[in-house]
């Protein structure tokens, strides 16, 4: 059988350029100290940092890169050996392990000296506690200041008193961050960045929404690559320009009925983390099965519809608190069901990532409820974001193939 082909996205060239510029600027600042650098969690208060003149590095992005290059497998054991358990976040253990080994894929990919040196570490526990523990490692070892926002989780409603609290926590970051950056906070600039971020996330949602078309011009696996600007460049006009270009290409594909998966027959929803070291294999597998994973919780996690330039602190507090990952299963199940309808999915695949309970939504009976209460076919595969020691190729393949057979028999 001929190898299945992955449809090329032409705009990727442009994305690579803007990402290279982003890393070049970080590297320059890290080498020369020309600009302060903040490390920020992926759904941390990045807009505030940009407005104060920080360049922002996202360690989770580095974790994903370590996973995608499969270097994680080499570094995770080094972090395990100094007491960080193989059961905790493998972004954390990959990143800390790479640091212990003095290695980073950023060198080969972007010709960087190393991971950019931070002036401050800024986290938000909205996604998990691991991010705080992760940043604490560097705070302890390098003596770098650390600040953060503590967000409660498992929320069904996101009410006003909670938003007051979170907005207050974000405002409290201003003073220490001003001192570290050596700049003065400007409300005008902050509001401008929040406005730009809103635009980024609106455009990103438009990109994802293209997959609601049948056949879809884009896959979840494309999404995990093309979300990079929404993650690391949100709040910058280059990200917005990029998504406008990508959208033009996707609209053109839709107009010409160009499918990402030729002969698309089955459409799936992916819940949970990507398996970074297996993205290509999985993309090829689904193409060979004429199946497109058209929607996901993961790619949608960088859609922040609440951002409002007119009310930057509170809207940012809301955006980063009403995230899927902070919510109760009641909310999550409704959310997924709506997307499954909107994207015309035939079923849902839950990825149980061994080291990330926060993104493994199958663990408290959700697949059973989706099947029994909502009539949505579901399957669980077991793996991990970075730690491929937790992934059994054969077992996952069996589950996925059998799931697609199950869906086909009902069609």
């Amino acid at each position: 059988m001929a190898e299945p082909k992955i449809k090329k996205i032409k705009s990727t060239v442009k994305m690579k350029e803007i990402l290279a510029d982003y890393f070049r600027e970080l590297d320059e600042a890290s080498r020369t100290g020309s600009k302060p650098i903040a490390w920020c969690t992926s759904v941390g208060p990045a807009e505030l940092l940009h407005s104060l003149g920080f360049l922002v590095h996202y360690p989770e992005n580095h974790g994903a890169l370590l996973g995608a290059t499969r270097e994680s497998v080499e570094y995770i054991p080094k972090a395990n050996a100094i007491g960080y358990s193989p059961d905790i976040c493998s972004y954390l253990t990959s990143d800390v392990g790479a640091c212990l080994a003095g290695k980073t894929p950023l060198r080969a990919a972007y010709n960087m000296e190393g991971v950019p040196k931070p002036s401050v570490l800024v986290y938000n526990t909205n996604q998990c506690r691991d991010v705080e523990d992760w940043f604490q490692y560097y705070a302890r070892n390098w003596g770098v200041p650390i600040v953060g926002v503590h967000t409660p989780r498992g929320l069904t409603e996101v009410d006003e008193p909670l938003i007051d609290n979170i907005a207050g926590q974000i405002e409290n970051l201003v003073e220490p961050l001003e001192k570290i950056a050596g700049t003065k906070f400007s409300a005008e600039r902050f509001s401008e960045v929040v406005g730009l971020s809103r635009r980024t996330t609106d455009l990103w949602w438009e990109v994802l929404s293209c997959a609601a078309k049948v056949p879809s011009p884009i896959t979840f696996f494309d999404g995990t690559v093309h979300m990079a600007p929404a993650v690391v460049l949100r709040g910058k006009s280059v990200a917005n320009e990029y998504y406008e270009t990508l959208l033009e290409e996707l609209h053109d594909d839709i107009e010409h009925n160009k499918a990402a998966v030729e002969g698309e027959q089955i459409r799936l929803y992916w819940d949970g983390m990507p398996i970074w070291g297996k993205l290509r294999d999985l993309a090829m597998f689904f193409i060979s099965q004429k199946t497109n994973v058209v929607a996901s919780t993961y790619c949608n996690s960088w859609v922040f519809k609440a951002f409002d330039a007119a009310d930057p602190f509170r809207s940012m507090a809301r955006a980063y608190t009403e995230l899927f990952i902070c919510r109760s299963d009641y909310y999550k199940e409704d959310y997924i069901t709506n997307l499954i309808k909107e994207f015309q999915c035939d079923g849902i695949l839950f990825h149980d990532a061994r080291t990330c309970p926060n993104n493994s939504n199958n663990r408290y009976g959700m697949p059973e409820r989706m099947i029994n209460d909502r009539g949505i076919p579901a399957v669980v595969i077991y793996g991990d974001l970075c730690d491929l020691r937790c992934y059994s190729e054969e077992q996952s393949r069996l589950s996925m193939e059998a799931f697609l057979e199950q869906i086909r028999q009902g069609k």
Partner: protein
């Protein structure tokens, strides 16, 4: 026309040949070993011999099981989930829960009254609750598995080995021996442990069909499951061959559908 299913499992390879009515004409079974394709050829030959297959007669093959994708001479490939459902429903045509305990994994398949797979569960990576676990403990006790199954018949107690992990369970066995636990009771514990691992995978319906080598070779497993569940527990004849039979039936159905489609056009 002959229709064949070849099930290359992690421990044993099985083949079933049937005719255009789904009547079984022959079977073959061999240890899988390292070369899946070679074993598939051999097990097919064994089934052909058993079926008195006239060399050169037209034959359609569906491959299934762990090594399914290595059988490049097959006409198609289906997972053992779909094949189990098809094979079991062929002889027991009713809604049921199939519990297949294999050499390296355990699968639960919920089949509707129309024979379609409604849902399935595959155990997580570890070997607890599978044939590999039983073999490991037998090795630890320096006994044949069949002997342990015999001993377990006269064992007492309701104590399963508690550990999820095969290695931990092995040390638990050593600890029990050190404490002088009777070997009959110990053997019973070991089989109870397989049953416990299987039962925690899902809530079963009221009709349960057990398949796979562990059940076919160790009747004690079905006896213990009967003690634990309210529903009716059935072990079909040739419980190790149900996936291969299902594959053969799928080969037959696909062929007949194609023929029908062709005659319609």
């Amino acid at each position: 026309m002959y229709f064949t299913g070849i099930d290359v499992g992690s421990t044993f390879s099985k083949s079933v040949i049937c005719d255009e009515y789904g009547e079984v004409l022959g079977r073959g079974m061999l240890r899988t070993g390292a070369d899946f394709k070679e074993r598939a050829v051999q097990v097919l030959e064994a089934a052909k011999a058993d079926a008195n297959y006239p060399e050169g007669a037209p034959i359609r093959i569906i491959a299934t099981g762990y090594g399914r994708n290595n059988i490049d001479f097959a006409d198609g490939v289906m997972t053992e989930i779909a094949c189990q459902a098809k094979g079991v429903f062929h002889s027991i045509p009713e809604a049921q829960t199939i519990v297949d305990i294999g050499g390296q994994d355990t699968k639960i398949v919920f089949v509707g009254s129309n024979g379609l797979v409604e849902r399935f569960i595959v155990n997580r990576k570890c070997a607890a609750g599978t044939g590999a676990f039983l073999e490991e403990i037998a090795r630890r006790l320096d006994k044949e598995l069949s002997e342990l199954a015999q001993l377990a018949q006269n064992g007492k107690g309701d104590r399963a080995l508690s550990s999820y992990c095969t290695v931990f369970a092995s040390s638990e066995v050593l600890d029990l021996l050190r404490r002088g636990v009777d070997i009959h009771d110990l053997a019973r514990s070991m089989f109870l442990s397989v049953v416990a691992r299987v039962m925690e995978l899902a809530t079963f319906g009221d009709k349960i069909t057990l398949t796979g080598g562990v059940v076919a070779n160790n009747p004690i497993v079905a006896d213990l499951i009967r003690e634990k569940v309210k529903g009716k527990v059935t072990v079909p004849d040739y419980a190790q061959f149900t996936a291969a039979l299902g594959a053969a039936i799928i080969a037959k159905e696909q062929f007949q559908k194609q023929a029908k489609d062709q005659s319609a056009t």
